[in-house]
């Protein structure tokens, strides 16, 4: 590490100038409107808007479904990552590539496909409905859409850590008499846990803001299946800009807090690796 202060390379002023100007105009100035707009509201008006029963219900739907979906993704994401890293089977590389589908597929397409799939006459919905499980137009459907959206986050965060895991450590555990399950729960799992937590947080963060894939399947019933992003759009369409901005501010603060947590988790994981 001998990064010196004086360098012969040109272009510092130009590149930093472009970066800062672009970032200010495209990202920071527009985002600032949320804060200046909300500042125009009085404290009590802000509080009343963001704690309105319909808004509170939408927080419950969004955060509840996002949490559940991230949890399901954590369990299955770990399993998928494990299978992809440890085992060899025909078609493994194609399956590996397919994991990124939710990143590449436009959310509206995912939305209409999942809604049709789980509707009462859909391929999957027709078998679930007789069992008393309605998916499309309920919070279950919202969770299903969020599972689809969040899956790659967990798999892609856990995969490199599993890949780097030294086989020797497991051999040592085995030679000291640990069973396979014991080796996994005592040796492998603690190593993977920080990455798993990061993956959970990333999937959760993506889910609370998600709109396109959820809006078709949710049914959008106020108080029941209305997600926060949809509530913001509804307020905007009614020209209730102050209300939309106040709710958006709450969501932004939640997202930034999550972003900070994720960065801290990754920083801690890197430190642990370095030691």
């Amino acid at each position: 590490m001998q990064r010196k202060s004086a360098t012969v390379l040109p272009g510092f002023g130009l590149s930093l100038g472009i970066t800062c100007t672009y970032l200010s105009l495209i990202v920071l100035l527009p985002l600032a409107t949320v804060f200046t707009r909300t500042a125009q509201l009085s404290g009590s008006a802000f509080w009343n808007t963001v704690t309105d029963p319909r808004v509170l219900a939408s927080y419950r739907v969004t955060f509840g479904a996002s949490f559940l979906a991230a949890l399901v993704n954590t369990v299955f994401g770990l399993l998928v990552a494990w299978v992809l890293v440890r085992y060899r089977f025909p078609g493994r590389r194609i399956v590996d590539a397919m994991v990124d589908l939710p990143f590449a597929l436009p959310t509206a397409v995912a939305g209409i496909a999942l809604t049709t799939l789980y509707a009462s006459n859909g391929w999957i919905g027709q078998y679930l409905e007789p069992l008393g499980l309605k998916v499309s137009y309920t919070w279950v459907g919202i969770t299903v859409a969020l599972i689809f959206i969040g899956l790659p986050f967990v798999v892609r965060t856990v995969q490199p850590v599993l890949d780097d895991l030294e086989v020797e450590v497991e051999e040592a555990a085995a030679s000291l008499g640990a069973g396979r399950w014991q080796t996994f729960s005592r040796v492998v799992f603690p190593t993977v846990a920080p990455a798993l937590l990061t993956g959970f947080a990333l999937a959760f963060a993506r889910a609370i803001g998600e709109y396109g894939s959820v809006v078709f399947i949710s049914g959008n019933m106020p108080m029941k299946t209305e997600i926060v992003p949809l509530l913001i759009i509804t307020k905007l369409e009614q020209y209730d800009y102050a209300g939309a901005t106040a709710v958006a501010l709450v969501m932004l603060v939640a997202s930034f807090a999550l972003l900070l947590t994720i960065n801290l988790l990754q920083w801690a994981a890197r430190r642990r690796m370095a030691v």
Binding site: S15, V27, P30, R93, A104, L105, I124, I232, I233, L252
Partner: protein, 304 residues
């Protein structure tokens, strides 16, 4: 299958699973079966459904839905938006990666965090902020109305919202890559008399081309597929301010399911092409890295 023919780099060679640390055959196959079952249910079945639904009214109807004027104009607008947003973010991404990776300065970590910001913002809020800025009641609303310029519910707003949402993609890909590569090669070029741009195009660009391509592919996919942000700022006017994802929504809400899925299948094909390209680039990148490792694994390099 084509994948089997492609050469494997040393880094992806299957790790020999030692008996003592492997699971029994039965456990292994049960785990594989559960994982593949889950992935089929979550990924494969929806994918299949798109194509089956798209063709449910037959091939002529499918073709009709795709070459209908409104669908074509939506496709054109989608391409136009991507053609502006992606190059803009390319210039931004390269500039950001250059100053962050090649120079030391205060506030670098803050800058990296700020670049990441759009990833943390809900698409709906990404659209909303441009309404607050340029809408009728926004900061610049009255001025824009006076000069008869339409930004919101028109194409400029859709371009801006898409640019915001896709801003981090290329920068995020290039920053770690260029940080890892350091500054030695560029410094050598400059010392030997090359100009700044010459150094960038002859030395830096060949080193980052795969990472750059990877970022471009992901940025483009998101730009063409963005729904939430664009939906907020679009006027939803058929034939004018409709992109392909918005056209899918309109058809679906009109109960024109087969047509909706037909248009959706075009976007799905785009996603599959994106995945294929992305995977190819990943393999190339890995191969380039292992080739470089072979060339440079000289004793001095290891000692350094």
């Amino acid at each position: 299958m084509a994948t089997a023919v492609l050469p494997r780099s040393a880094t992806t060679a299957p790790r020999a699973v030692v008996r003592a640390t492997g699971e029994s055959r039965t456990v292994r196959w049960i785990l594989i079966a559960i994982a593949l079952g889950f992935l089929s249910l979550v990924l494969l079945v929806p994918l299949l459904l798109v194509f089956v639904q798209a063709l449910s009214k037959g091939l002529p109807a499918y073709w009709e839905a795709i070459k209908e004027p409104d669908a074509l104009s939506a496709a054109k607008l989608t391409l136009l938006i991507a053609a502006i947003a992606v190059p803009a973010n390319l210039i931004f991404g390269v500039a950001a990666a250059w100053c962050i990776s090649k120079f030391a300065f205060r506030g670098k970590h803050l800058l990296i965090t700020l670049i990441d910001l759009p990833f943390a913002v809900s698409p709906v809020i990404s659209g909303m902020i441009f309404v607050l800025l340029f809408g009728a009641h926004g900061w610049f609303g009255p001025w824009l109305a006076e000069h008869d310029i339409k930004v919101i519910f028109a194409i400029p707003g859709m371009v801006l919202a898409t640019t915001f949402v896709t801003a981090p993609f290329i920068a995020r890909e290039l920053i770690p890559l260029m940080q890892e590569q350091g500054t030695e090669e560029e410094e050598a070029a400059i010392v030997l008399g090359a100009g700044g741009w010459q150094t960038f195009f002859r030395v830096t660009l060949p080193n980052i081309k795969w990472g750059l391509l990877y970022g471009l592919i992901l940025c483009n996919a998101r730009a063409m597929g963005e729904f939430g942000a664009v939906s907020v700022v679009s006027g939803h006017i058929r034939g004018e301010t409709n992109t392909l994802p918005l056209h899918v929504e309109i058809l679906y809400n009109e109960y024109a399911f087969a047509a909706s899925f037909a248009v959706a299948s075009v976007l799905t094909l785009l996603a599959l092409v994106t995945l294929a390209l992305k995977t190819l680039v990943e393999w190339q990148q890995r191969r380039a890295m292992s080739d470089a490792a072979e060339v440079f694994t000289t004793p001095e390099r290891i000692a350094a």
